[in-house]
């Protein structure tokens, strides 16, 4: 062995040293280290799981958001449709009311025209009668001679009852 350059004592010392080192390492380093590595691995797994969860949740959130958007759109469409229907109904009612009101105004106007026409007719008749009366007065004034007037007076006196 000495010819090979191997020192037995040194070898034994190294073996013992290695053994001691191994024992110390195994007892005081390996376990904690292993435990540390195992913890790290667990943490890593946990992180991955959490990431997976987050991803899932994100997807769920996106899906929910889309669903909510679609629902909102549907509701909005329904509300818009209702508003349009209400507006159309209101418009129709307003038109009916306006027609009624305008008919009332037209009827009033017709009545007014009728009243004014009757009044005008009355006035015209009055004027015609007055004018005719005037013409007759003038005509008779110039037509009735003295003899005719005497004749009229004769009849008046004849028909006049005796006053007591």
């Amino acid at each position: 062995m000495e010819s090979l350059g191997i020192d037995i004592k040194l070898l034994i010392a190294q073996i013992i040293n290695f053994g001691l080192f191994f024992y110390v390492f195994k007892k005081y380093l390996a376990k904690p280290f292993a435990s540390f590595m195992s913890d790290e691995a667990k943490l890593e797994k946990e992180k991955e799981r959490i990431m997976e969860d987050l991803k899932k949740k994100e997807e769920e959130l996106t899906t929910s958001q889309n669903k909510a958007k679609n629902l909102m759109k549907k509701e909005l469409d329904v509300a818009l449709k209702k508003v349009k229907e209400d507006a159309a109904r209101l418009k129709a009612n307003l038109i009916v009311e306006a027609k009624k009101d305008s008919q009332v105004i037209i009827d009033k106007g017709k009545k007014q025209i009728e009243v004014e026409r009757a009044e005008m007719e009355r006035e015209m008749k009055k004027k015609i009668v007055q004018l005719t009366g005037l013409v007759l007065e003038r005509s008779f004034s110039s037509y009735l001679s003295s003899d005719m007037q005497k004749e009229v007076n004769k009849n008046v006196l004849k028909n006049l009852p005796k006053l007591s």
């Binding site: 008749k125 009055k126 009668v129 007055q130 005719t132 009366g133 007759l136 007065e137 008779f140 004034s141 009735l144 003295s146 005719m148 007037q149 005497k150 009229v152 007076n153 004769k154 008046v156 006196l157 006049l160 009852p161 005796k162 006053l163 007591s164």
Partner: protein, 68 residues
């Protein structure tokens, strides 16, 4: 009593006498005759405020009222 007779021409005595008789006027009652051509024919007798309208003009006016 005072009587006023409005006629379209001056009444003659016969007419005035007949009128006095019809109105039963007494001796002291006065009767005046006023000429107003607007009467046209007939007469208007005013007996102390009481008016008897027998004029042609009034008859025409009454006719107008009737028509109206």
């Amino acid at each position: 009593m005072t009587v006023q007779v409005i006629s379209s021409y001056k009444l003659d005595n016969d007419e005035l006498t007949e009128l006095r008789e019809k109105l039963s006027l007494k001796e002291g009652d006065t009767m005046t005759n006023v000429v107003d051509r607007s009467v046209i024919a007939g007469m208007i007798i005013n007996l102390d405020g009481r008016v008897i309208d027998l004029s042609f003009k009034t008859q025409l006016k009454n006719l107008q009222k009737l028509v109206l």
